[in-house]
């Protein structure tokens, strides 16, 4: 009787051990299949181009194929809602996520179909600060010129930007509050149409990203950037803070795994994305991106901060 019990105990221990080692081995072996990396925007866009930059380095550091697929639509929401509904938390399906999109859309839309927090953020790897840009022929030489003109002529100054309740829009609203002026924000779909809107004088200025200032250095003048400190690729451009306006903001780009993905897998992925960031830094910084690596709790905190900042502004605007 006793022997049976011992045998049972030993047997179950061995079984448990075997289970534990096999699961440990399974984790050690992650990844062993190709990883699907979903991009929620059109091929050729900045998110796509960044993913293409990352792809070979991720493959190198993870040792498996990384397949970039596209699921565009609804400003990202189509892919995000589908991902939260159906992706398995096994680390083999990842999705590109964007701030403030994932904060603003669920507030704005009744049927966005996804929740701001219902996934595990692997890392926020990119930050693109907003920047106030005018054309070379513009009468506004400095931010002060623009502000004082707008003080005397409410609503006359038009600011083009990418999207409604986007980073660009929010920075415009903040500038209005901080400087006590009345501007007109005109949203465009994406950053694509912005250069011609500015150069064709269809808007007085752009609240866009630093990317634009670097893309067309001969045609535009950047008046201020919404970063904590000056951007290394635009050393002569002051920050809004230097000029006395507390405006820091822009768009973050990151990658998320389904909620409930094992922490070891998340760590492996975060490490791979971190290494990749270093590898592509040289190519990415001249394009106007600021490389970041916000993982774990920090990544969630960032979303939380954005959510608070945006929630108030959007509700105030919608109330109007």
């Amino acid at each position: 009787m006793k022997t049976t019990a011992t045998a049972l105990a030993v047997g179950s221990c061995a079984f448990a051990l075997a289970l534990a080692t096999s699961s440990a081995m399974a984790q050690a072996e992650y990844p062993e299949e190709p990883i699907t990396y979903v991009i929620s925007f059109n091929p050729g866009g900045e998110s796509d181009v960044t993913a293409r930059f990352q792809e070979p380095h991720l493959e190198e550091s993870l040792g498996v194929d990384v397949v970039v697929t596209h699921r565009p639509g609804g400003g990202g929401a189509v892919a995000w809602s589908d991902f939260q509904r159906s992706a398995e938390p096994d680390g083999y399906t990842l999705i590109g996520v964007n701030l403030p999109h994932i904060v603003a859309q669920p507030i704005l839309r009744d049927d966005a179909g996804y929740d701001t927090f219902d996934w595990d953020i692997v890392t926020w790897f990119h930050f693109t600060p907003s920047a106030l840009v005018v054309s070379k022929s513009s009468p506004f030489e400095t931010l002060e010129d623009l502000v004082s003109y707008a003080q005397e002529n409410p609503q006359v100054v038009t600011l083009g930007g990418s999207g409604t309740f986007s980073a660009n829009h929010l920075e415009t609203l903040r500038l209005e509050n901080e400087a006590e002026i009345d501007l007109t924000y005109i949203p465009f779909t994406g950053t694509g149409p912005l250069p011609s809107a500015l150069l064709g004088n269809h808007v007085s200025a752009l609240m866009s990203y630093t990317v634009l200032g670097l893309q067309m250095p001969d045609e535009v003048r950047v008046l201020a950037v919404a970063a904590e400190e000056r951007v290394s690729t635009l050393p002569d451009v002051p920050t809004f803070r230097e000029l006395g306006y507390d405006i820091v903001g822009g768009a973050y780009r990151g990658v998320a795994a389904p909620k409930g993905t094992p922490p070891e897998i998340l760590e492996t992925l975060a490490e791979a994305f971190g290494e990749t960031n270093e590898a592509i830094r040289e190519k990415q910084e001249p394009l106007g991106f600021v490389m970041t690596h916000e993982t774990g709790e920090d990544a969630v905190d960032l979303v939380e901060t954005m959510r608070q900042a945006y929630g108030d502004v959007i509700e105030a605007e919608m109330g109007n």
């Binding site: 059109n42 091929p43 050729g44 181009v49 929401a77 859309q105 986007s166 064709g200 893309q215 394009l287």
Partner: protein
């Protein structure tokens, strides 16, 4: 000039020519499959360009782009389906020609027109890029609104029979276009509680649904293929004779070619317009200036030539705003912009001097690609033609269905899109039966979004005025466009009135 020669030498290397040849051929077949667009082809090619240097990568993309737009005409002619949105107007006369047993003639005409269009677009890009780019800057929100309204006047030309029904179709198309996220405001509209509907109705999904599905259903109900295979067995010699005859006929009408090329080039630089609009506008212009407009839509080769010339002009033509201002005029251009970014190339006027060999090489390679379409198209065209005509109808119908289902799914990896495609197809078939054609619906879908965007942005821009709508007619170009709208609507009315009056006078004259 030196840069130019250097560029020419760099792309006349054997391996470059091979890249162009493969690109054009692959593009041709991809374009010929309904549902596979130029954007899709370029997106697939994108990872392969990593292994190439910048010039080779861009050359490959340019060649595939050129090939797909041309290949779209095969599906348009043989199965009444725009293979890519750019060949929408090619269906109007290409398919009737095919039904009359003139499919090969239509293919030859499309080939000649595409080659000429492609080459003219390259010439414009080489010689006129800076002034054309400056022209592009005049098109702001207000101008875009009027461009869209001008485009909507095409409804009159596209409605078969009843104008009221055409207008209803246009409105239905515009409403379908509002499904999804609003362009200004960012809110979701008409999603009926389905998150995937935030993505809206993609143009190519609607095109496939409204054009292919009804055609499949028609073939099924008739119990035979639409194109009769009997008596169309053309050997190589007859084929050549048809080609020479058609080529001569196309070249004998240089005005049509030049008019369509100019329209294609102008539309190419208007940001946000696309090959589909170029194709439709050139078609309408050819019809209006024809002495026998009633033959259009019944197999008039001029309509097909107009459409194919202008959409191939667009390929190189849309590189004008892309290379000089970094504005992708059409979705495939966005991918080319992406590849330029990957290789650290910055769009701008200086691109032509700082990276002169590369830029000019890329442009010239598109010219080479256009010329290569002639042999590739004539040979590949015969193959595709044989496949379509030789396949028994009971295999043709499910094969086309299979390809369209896969193609629609591949567009955005979405089964919802496939359902929308099938649903629109059946609805489109029913609407056709009560006299509401598919063309006005598609036109509304293409232009509704542009009109909305232009209107709302203009009104926002005019917030400081007492009447914000004044912003719509503030600029000289807007006023010119308004005038064109008035002419487009008014001219046929005046014409009709005059004919009636002349008729009356003649009656009256008889009495005196």
């Amino acid at each position: 000039m030196e840069l130019f020669l250097e560029a020419l030498v760099s792309i006349l290397q054997p391996h470059m020519l091979l890249v162009i040849f493969i690109g054009v051929t692959a593009g041709l077949f991809v374009g010929a499959l309904p549902g596979l667009t130029a954007t899709m082809a370029l997106a697939v090619l994108l990872p392969f360009t990593f292994t190439m240097d910048a010039l080779q990568g861009l050359v490959a993309l340019g060649a595939v782009y050129m090939g797909t737009i041309y290949g779209g005409s095969f599906a348009a002619i043989l199965v009444n389906t725009p293979g890519t949105p750019s060949s929408i107007a090619t269906t109007f006369d290409g398919y009737p020609m095919a039904k009359q047993g003139r499919a090969y003639e239509a293919i030859c005409a499309a080939t000649v027109a595409s080659v000429i269009g492609g080459v003219l677009g390259v010439l414009a890009l080489l010689l006129l890029a800076p002034p054309l780019a400056r022209m592009a800057l005049f098109f702001g929100p207000a101008e875009m609104f009027w461009v869209a309204i001008l485009g909507l006047t095409l409804i009159a030309a596209l409605s078969e029979g009843s104008l009221l029904k055409g207008l209803l179709g246009g409105c239905i198309g515009m409403i379908l276009g509002t499904i999804g996220v609003s362009p200004v405001g960012g809110e979701s509209r008409f999603t009926f509680g389905i998150p995937a509907m935030q993505g809206g109705v993609e143009l190519i999904v609607a095109l496939i649904g409204l054009f292919v599905v009804p055609e499949l259903l028609l073939m099924a109900t008739r119990g035979r293929a639409a194109i009769d295979a009997a008596g169309m067995k053309t050997g190589a010699r007859e084929g050549m004779a048809i080609f020479l005859r058609t080529a001569r006929a196309v070249l004998a009408k240089p005005v049509n070619l030049i008019r369509s090329a100019v329209i294609g080039q102008v539309i190419a630089i208007i940001p946000g317009a696309g090959g589909s609009i170029a194709s439709l506008v050139s078609y309408d212009a050819a019809r209006r200036s024809s002495k026998r407009p009633e033959t259009f839509g019944r197999g008039n080769v001029d309509g097909l030539v107009a459409s194919e010339t202008s959409n191939n002009v667009m390929v190189a033509g849309s590189m004008v705003p892309l290379l000089t201002l970094g504005i992708p005029g059409a979705p495939p251009d966005a991918i080319i912009l992406g590849v330029m970014m990957l290789h650290g190339l910055r769009p701008g006027f200086e691109l032509f001097s700082t990276s002169g060999v590369l830029t000019n090489g890329f442009i010239l390679s598109m010219g080479v690609a256009a010329l290569l379409m002639l042999p590739v198209g004539l040979l590949g065209g015969r193959v595709i033609y044989r496949i379509v005509v030789g396949t028994p109808y009971f295999f043709l119908v499910p094969s086309i269905a299979l390809v369209t289902i896969l193609g629609t799914y591949a567009l955005r990896n979405s089964m919802v899109d496939v359902l929308i495609m099938l649903g629109l197809g059946v609805v489109g078939y029913l609407l056709r039966n009560i006299g509401i054609g598919s063309a006005p619906i598609v036109l509304g879908l293409i232009l509704g979004g542009i009109a909305e965007m232009g209107y709302v942005q203009s009104v926002l821009g005019g917030m400081a005025y007492s009447v914000p709508q004044l912003r719509l007619v503030e600029n000289p170009l807007s006023q010119i466009l308004v005038l064109l709208v008035v002419l487009a609507v008014g001219a046929p009315m005046v014409g009709a009135w005059r004919r009636r009056r002349v008729g009356k006078e003649r009656d009256a004259g008889g009495e005196t």
